[in-house]
Subunit: 314 residues, 2 copies
């Protein structure tokens, strides 16, 4: 199996695949380049949802009821905030708040997000390297169809429950951002690069929008395998299918292949989409058909094996 | 009894006296001008300890074990923060965090501290008016004897447990601060002004340091009664006695009288200090001797009656 693996990651789908990879290949030198476009400032706190979802999932302490946040969570702070009619649309659990307090303290002290992230993953005993794609501010901004003002990603995703049509997505700060320490090297040096089954528009694209990262992925294309987050024309979780359609793409594995063909040689699609293998290959990607829906740890492990083996037949 | 009462307040001692006043004179038009010199920013949150102690005490929801924070508190956020070796010297309970999150959200939206404070006290059903002495930044800075750099008040009070000698106290921002809305009028219009038994150096002095407030108190001197926080040469709570000594004052009711004579006509001292009545009066203040240690609500109510009656014999 490949020794050095780098995963381009959003939140939940990426976290599950990472758990599968760790399970089947515990000795791998595993680096994650993660999206920070859905970070937000709330009540003075710096919140990094994708970094936390990955950390908590790999630590085995993700909240099983919500899919985000910490297990054994309580909500006393939110109850007090509700007494004041404060903004409670983004739910901050009491345990989880400790992470946001720590991150915000350290950033205020001048530590870069990458350093703070390394401290947090170390505290949870993670052995992988979790790299925010950039230490600079990067914010995914969403234009809701028919509205003038952009809203932040979490306002779209959580506050509006992604139930509104989107006419544009923009990555604020991307042009001025530089890749975080180790990001470009992690892509260049990997035996295999994996694009996780995350939302292509709002989880993977903001990573690629940081100058230098898309080029690094293009250079690594022969060693890069992507997993489609679209199965049978629908997102496994979240609004990826609608976002693809609203922004002019096909909400199918073929639409995913169009987006990823410049940066990945291989696309893993679900067995439900086996009939589209030829159409994917027509986009210039080799196509692997396999179970991709990670309903349990065994399924995640199986998908981990699939991506690790993606280039062994070459 | 006087109809309009204004109390110059620090934290715990003031909160207890206020609870006594509300008990014996529920129909009073009661305004509190409170210290914000011990506010701090921590982990991105704006924390106003004296405002919260007063609010929670009057709401009947103060934590009886600690004397600050909320009752029925949990500490999950602190437990997570401790996992990261974060700064846990200032303990933020989970319920309490909701207040800090709300205040910080609203300040970030541009609401002044006075507005946010009114919203918070309304949410707890308080009928008094709680006014931060200023909406501007005001920070009590402490120089520890033998050290060069100043530290914030809470670093002295909580982190170092006020167990170090102090060589100077400074109110950063005071010169540029303006009194909050209603502050000067509350002093000018009161039938009786009460200086609560708070620390003269670090609770009352920062209030007086806001330009205009000391003059307003001097103008109201004939109607102003102070309660000594020093009983039998010691602070009822906290480091007031040591601070008085370290900064060149007598740590007795006479030292307190020297400080308050320009702004208050009457000083209430404890029965334990009855022998010092003459020395207090020699400082130019009328002296009332009464029980002042608020060990329970009945004692607080009795002290409330004492200050309300301070001018009835005139």
């Amino acid at each position: 199996m490949p020794a050095v693996i780098t995963v381009i990651a959003g939140g939940v789908g990426a976290a599950r695949l990472l758990a599968g990879l760790v399970q089947v290949h515990p000795s791998a030198d595993l680096t994650v380049v993660a999206n920070v476009g859905d970070d937000l400032e709330l009540g003075g706190l710096h919140i990094s949802p994708d970094l936390d979802t990955i950390t908590y999932t790999l630590a085995g302490t993700i909240n099983p009821e919500t899919g985000w946040g910490l297990a054994d969570e309580s909500w006393q702070a939110m109850d007090t905030l509700a007494r004041y009619d404060g903004a409670t649309w983004f739910r901050l659990g009491d345990r989880d708040l400790g992470t946001h307090l720590y991150r915000t303290q350290r950033l205020a002290e001048g530590a870069p997000l990458s350093t703070v992230t390394a401290e947090i993953t170390a505290a949870w005993g993670l052995e992988l390297t979790l790299l925010p794609v950039t230490d600079d501010p990067l914010r995914t901004m969403v234009t809701v169809a028919g509205e003038q003002a952009e809203i932040g990603f979490q306002e779209y995703f959580v506050q509006r429950r992604h139930s509104v049509a989107v006419s544009a997505v923009r990555f604020q700060g991307a042009a001025a951002a530089t890749p975080g320490p180790g990001v470009l090297a992690a892509v260049a040096d990997a035996d295999v690069v994996v694009i996780a089954p995350s939302n292509p528009i709002v989880s993977i694209d903001p990573v690629l929008a940081v100058p230098g990262v898309r080029q690094a992925l293009e250079d690594a294309r022969p060693r890069t395998v992507a997993v489609s987050p679209i199965v049978a024309g629908a997102a496994v979780k979240g609004p990826a299918d609608r976002l693809l359609r609203e922004l002019g793409h096909a909400a199918t594995v073929v639409g995913v292949a169009e987006l990823y063909a410049p940066v990945a040689a291989v696309l893993v699609i679900d067995e439900a989409d086996a009939a589209l293998r030829g159409a994917v290959e027509a986009e210039g990607m080799r196509c692997i058909v396999a179970p991709t829906v990670m309903t349990d740890p065994a399924a995640a492990a199986a998908l981990g094996t699939t991506v690790l083996d993606a280039f062994t037949a070459d």
